[in-house]
C-alpha cells in the first residue's frame, strides 16, 4: 500500500551504498531483523537515500546514549508509537 519501498536486493547506486554503510553500524543483536536484510524502518526511507544517514545519525545520539537508561528509552519510544497508533 501507499508509497514504494526499495529493499536491499533491488537497491542500486547511492541507495545500495547507504544500505551497506548502515549495515556496518554497531547494532545490538536484538535490533537485527531475523530476515537478515536491512531493518524495515531504514528501507522505509528508500525514496530519499540521502535522508537516511541524517535520520539515523540522530537516532544514534538519542537511542544509543544516555542519560536515560535503555529500558527508559524504550518506554518513551513505545508510548509514542502506541499513541500514534503505529504498530510496526
Amino acid at each position: 500500500m501507499a508509497l514504494a519501498i526499495i529493499g536491499y536486493e533491488a537497491s542500486r547506486g547511492q541507495l545500495r551504498d547507504t544500505y551497506d554503510k548502515m549495515r556496518e553500524r554497531p547494532l545490538p543483536p536484538v535490533y537485527r531483523p531475523s530476515h537478515g536484510g536491512s531493518p524495515g524502518i531504514i528501507t522505509a526511507h528508500s525514496l530519499d537515500p540521502a535522508l537516511i544517514p541524517r535520520v539515523f545519525m540522530t537516532s544514534s545520539t538519542l537511542n544509543g546514549a544516555g542519560p536515560l537508561a535503555w529500558a527508559e528509552r524504550e518506554l518513551v519510544n513505545a508510548t509514542t508509537s502506541r499513541l500514534n497508533q503505529c504498530f510496526y
Binding site: 519501498i5 524495515g40 535522508l51 527508559e72 509514542t80 508509537s81
Partner: protein, 237 residues
C-alpha cells in the same frame, strides 16, 4: 504492548513522568509548563533526562509517520499480531495559539543531537527537488502553526494556490492523524503529477518539521506558567 498509553501505570514516579512527557510531546506539547518540569524533577528526572525524553519522543514520532506513509511490513515474527490502527480515532488537536519566549531547555547541552538535527534540518529545507524550497516552507509553516511553534513565521503572508492546499492537507494528516495515511491520502497530489519520491518528500518534510517544532514548543512551554500552578495531569486536557 501498551494498550492505552494515556492511562499507563508505569511503576514508579520516574517512569510515570517519562510516559507523561512522551504523551505530551506526541499529542499536545504546548500544554507543558514550568509546574510540570518541577514535578518531573521531584519524580527523579534531571533537566538532561527531560531533554532526552522530549527529543526522543519527537524523533520517534518521525519514524512512526514514515512507517505509516510507506506501510512498512513487520521485521519480526510475532506471537500475537498487533492491532490495526483505527482510522476513526480523532486527529490530535491543533494548538490554540503559538508559543514564543525563552526556552527552559536548550539542545546545546546535548551537542551531538543538536548537530545531527541541524544537519537533518539543513538537508530537508535547503534543496529544490523533488519539492521546491517554497513548498517546503509552506509545509513547515503550517506544521509550526498546528503545533504552536511561534519561532517560525506563520503562513499568512504566503499566497496559497490549489497545489499548496493539497500539500497542506497531506501535511495535516501526517502531523495530526498519521494512522489514517493510505493511498487515498496521496490521490490529489498524484493527480497533480507527484510520483512516489515527491509524495515521500511531502511526508518527510512534514514529519521533519514536526520533529523540530515539537522539540521547540516543548522546551518553550516548559519555561512558561507559574511553577505552583495546577495542571491537568497526563493526557488530553
Amino acid at each position: 504492548m501498551i494498550a492505552d498509553a494515556r492511562s499507563v501505570q508505569a511503576g514508579s514516579p520516574r517512569l510515570q513522568a517519562l510516559v507523561e512527557i512522551a504523551a505530551r510531546v506526541t499529542i499536545e506539547p504546548w500544554t507543558m509548563s514550568r509546574h510540570m518540569l518541577k514535578r518531573w524533577y521531584e519524580a527523579g528526572l534531571s533537566a538532561d533526562d527531560v531533554l532526552h525524553a522530549v527529543a526522543l519522543s519527537a524523533y520517534f514520532g518521525h519514524l512512526n509517520r514514515i512507517a505509516d506513509a510507506v506501510g512498512v511490513p513487520l521485521d519480526y515474527e510475532v506471537r500475537t499480531l498487533p492491532p490495526h490502527a483505527d482510522p476513526m480515532e480523532p486527529a490530535w488537536p491543533e494548538a490554540p495559539k503559538s508559543l514564543s519566549g525563552r526556552a527552559a531547555l536548550e539542545l546545546t547541552s546535548r551537542p551531538a543531537t543538536a548537530n545531527a538535527l541541524n544537519d537533518w534540518r539543513n538537508y530537508m529545507f535547503h534543496r529544490d527537488a523533488p519539492l521546491t524550497r517554497r513548498q517546503r516552507t509552506v509545509i513547515a509553516r503550517h506544521v509550526a502553526v498546528w503545533l504552536g511553534d511561534g519561532g517560525i513565521s506563520p503562513p499568512d503572508d504566503l499566497t496559497i494556490n490549489p497545489l499548496d492546499d493539497a500539500l497542506r492537507m497531506l501535511a495535516h494528516e501526517v502531523t495530526l492523524a498519521p494512522w489514517r495515511l493510505s493511498d487515498a491520502s496521496f490521490a490529489t497530489l498524484r493527480e497533480a503529477g507527484f510520483d512516489d519520491a515527491a509524495l515521500f518528500d511531502v511526508c518527510a518534510t512534514a514529519t521533519s518539521a514536526g520533529v523540530f517544532s515539537r522539540i521547540a514548543v516543548a522546551f518553550t512551554a516548559l519555561g512558561q506558567g507559574r511553577a505552583s500552578s495546577v495542571d491537568a495531569g497526563i493526557g488530553v486536557s
